[in-house]
């Protein structure tokens, strides 16, 4: 069964705001070109999280790992996301969704942010 990834972001009015998300997706595809990976936004941007989930399921994905591209776990990550994931599993029987900790809590990401802060050049 194919596993897909959704990079879950907040969304914003300005389309430029999505650029780092597109760059994360491109970096994933560089190291794992076969991975089905979509962006999915909470609000203000397309595709929505629901659209991203539906797109992966239509492409034959049976398991989805949702990775919150958030600095920390606020209510969007702790409440909105699990609720929407539960609704999506109701909508797609047989689909499994795993929710990762937000990227900002990963030690490797924290170390990269610290190194950047010391030398933003």
């Amino acid at each position: 069964m194919t596993t897909g990834i959704i990079l879950f972001g907040h969304g914003a009015r300005n389309p430029e705001w999505a650029e780092p998300f597109q760059r994360i997706r491109a970096a994933i595809l560089r190291s794992a070109p076969q991975t089905p990976v979509e962006l999915g936004f909470l609000e203000l941007m397309q595709p929505s999280l629901d659209e991203a989930i539906d797109r992966l399921v239509q492409g034959g994905v049976g398991r989805i790992s949702i990775v919150p591209i958030f600095m920390a776990a606020g209510s969007h990550v702790k409440k909105d996301l699990p609720q929407r994931a539960a609704n999506a599993m109701d909508r797609h029987p047989g689909l499994t969704i795993d929710i990762a900790a937000p990227v900002g809590e990963a030690t490797s990401v924290i170390d990269a942010m610290a190194a950047y802060a010391l030398n933003p050049g």
Copy 2:
């Protein structure tokens, strides 16, 4: 002249939300123990950005690098932050403030987020 760093975050109601910021600060101090480094929040959390700036200046810092701990540059980073930095430089003659690109736009951070998304453990 000593240069200080401010890790600039949005802020949230739940104190736990600040933990990744404290971890970034700790990682900076591990590799550069002498660096004056403060957290500074836009809203909802203490210390505020202004408080962080004042604290560094009182400690003898003449130049501050503000690093936005944001995934992407939205209006908080593009509008609120430069305005507050300009006000702070008016308030503290002789102080220089540099504003870095948000961490989420740094290639090293994007690569770390992509690696984490592929293997969140």
